[in-house]
């Protein structure tokens, strides 16, 4: 946690801050503006800056979201919440959804995140490579799982399945609900 937050996350923040001044006005001052920038990345000038914005802007947003989806001991999904109902109607059961999500995490090859995103009216479980943020794809992030080796290697070595199973227990489902409802 310390290395993840103080080294990796911090490095994305400082590299993003170093890249932003090179963009033409208006300045990107908040997360919404950054997401809008990512949404139109293919049109961002100069082209040489795009990879830096994609990787470090994504790294910043992804880690912020990831850390905010966890809480010590986890917090359960309120059964009457809109998210719980949507999961049931789309996946059949929470258990099926959990299985699909963790399978996506286990099978992601290389570096990336697994997300639950809202895409129009649908929930989708997606794998995005490296630090690609859902804003690039126009999808709304709901739940984020960091599958980069740095997220688990120190404690779990190569046993990533054990990490994902333990991470699942830390999820702050009320926070995830707020993302789903557009309140966060």
């Amino acid at each position: 946690m310390r290395a993840h937050h103080d080294a990796h996350f911090a490095s994305y923040v400082s590299k993003l801050n170093a890249a932003l001044p090179a963009l033409p006005a208006p300045p990107v001052r908040d997360d919404h503006a950054l997401k809008r920038l990512l949404r139109r990345l293919p049109h961002v000038q100069p082209p040489a800056l795009r990879a830096q914005i994609r990787n470090n802007g994504g790294g910043y947003l992804n880690h912020k979201h990831f850390f905010s989806c966890m809480t010590p001991g986890g917090a359960p999904l309120p059964p009457q919440s809109a998210l719980a109902q949507r999961i049931h109607s789309q996946f059949g059961s929470f258990h099926t959804f959990e299985t699909l999500f963790l399978d996506a995490a286990r099978t992601l090859f290389g570096s990336g995140f697994v997300w639950l995103v809202r895409d129009a009216q649908q929930l989708r479980i997606v794998q995005y490579a490296n630090q690609d943020n859902p804003a690039l794809h126009g999808t709304v992030p709901v739940l984020a799982c960091d599958c980069w080796e740095h997220a688990w290697y120190y404690q779990y070595g190569p046993n990533k399945a054990a990490y994902f199973a333990e991470w699942w227990k830390l999820i702050d489902w009320p926070a995830v609900c707020r993302y789903y409802e557009g309140k966060a």
Binding site: A3, A7, H8, S11, A51, N55, F109, G110, S111, G112, A129, N130, Q131, W148, E149, H150, Y153, Y154, G157, P158
Partner: protein, 224 residues
């Protein structure tokens, strides 16, 4: 015939303090072993016959001609097996092999890059700039010149039709986090700098001679 995990040419702690023993152990017995097991699953699976009779090196070069349904597993696991089998042979216990280029590979590096230091600067930059998981490579190109590149995940320069610039790799460095995290955490440039202390230039010279003769890097790929 299925592939088997090749033995490491040295003890797990041979590359200390540059690459730690725990990393070498997990990297070899878990990560590399998983690639071997998974490429064998492809061989044993529905389209495995497409790979029958192909050497591991030939598999790398023929990805586009494989059935579409097995291309990704072959790139990932066939590439993973090739890359790691080669990687172990590129390193040696400090003091047991030449740690700087010599002979014809030295002359070639000096000719194509200006000097060993200039080649290392470019290689280090490529290794540091590869975002996410991947490898950095020194390869012989189709024009006979050495070039430096990096590839994503378990791709390698032999994979014509998959990678941006194909060629015959003679030296490579794993920059997946599992290759360095336990000792270096996110300090990848430090790991890259340390790598040069364990490079086995005797082996790289053999690989270079093989590549210029139209073959690929020389290392064992034992079968089960």
């Amino acid at each position: 015939m299925n592939f088997a995990l090749p033995a490491l040419p040295y003890a797990y702690d041979a590359l200390e303090p540059y690459v730690d023993a725990t990393t070498m152990n997990i990297h070899h017995t878990k990560h590399h072993q998983t690639y071997v097991s998974n490429i064998n699953k492809v061989l044993d699976g529905p389209h495995g016959s497409a790979l029958k009779g192909l050497s591991l090196a030939a598999i790398q070069a023929n990805i586009p001609s494989l059935p579409e349904s097995i291309r990704t597993p072959v790139i990932n696991s066939g590439g993973g097996h090739y890359n790691h089998a080669m990687f172990w042979t590129l390193m040696a216990k400090p003091g047991s092999a030449n740690v700087t280029p010599m002979g014809s590979v030295k002359a070639k590096i000096d000719g194509d890059f200006g000097s060993f230091d200039q080649m290392k600067t470019q290689f280090n930059a490529a290794a540091a700039a590869r975002f996410g998981s991947g490898w950095a490579w020194l390869s012989v190109g189709s024009d006979g010149k050495l070039f430096i590149s990096s590839t994503a995940n378990q791709e390698n320069p032999l994979m014509k039709g998959v990678v941006a610039q194909s060629g015959t790799p003679i030296l490579g460095l794993d920059v997946w986090e599992h290759a360095y995290y336990l000792k270096y955490q996110n300090r990848r440039p430090e790991y890259i700098a340390a790598f040069w202390n364990v490079v086995n230039w005797d082996q790289v010279a053999v690989n270079y001679d093989s590549a210029t003769a139209g073959n690929t890097a020389v290392f064992d790929t034992p079968v089960a």
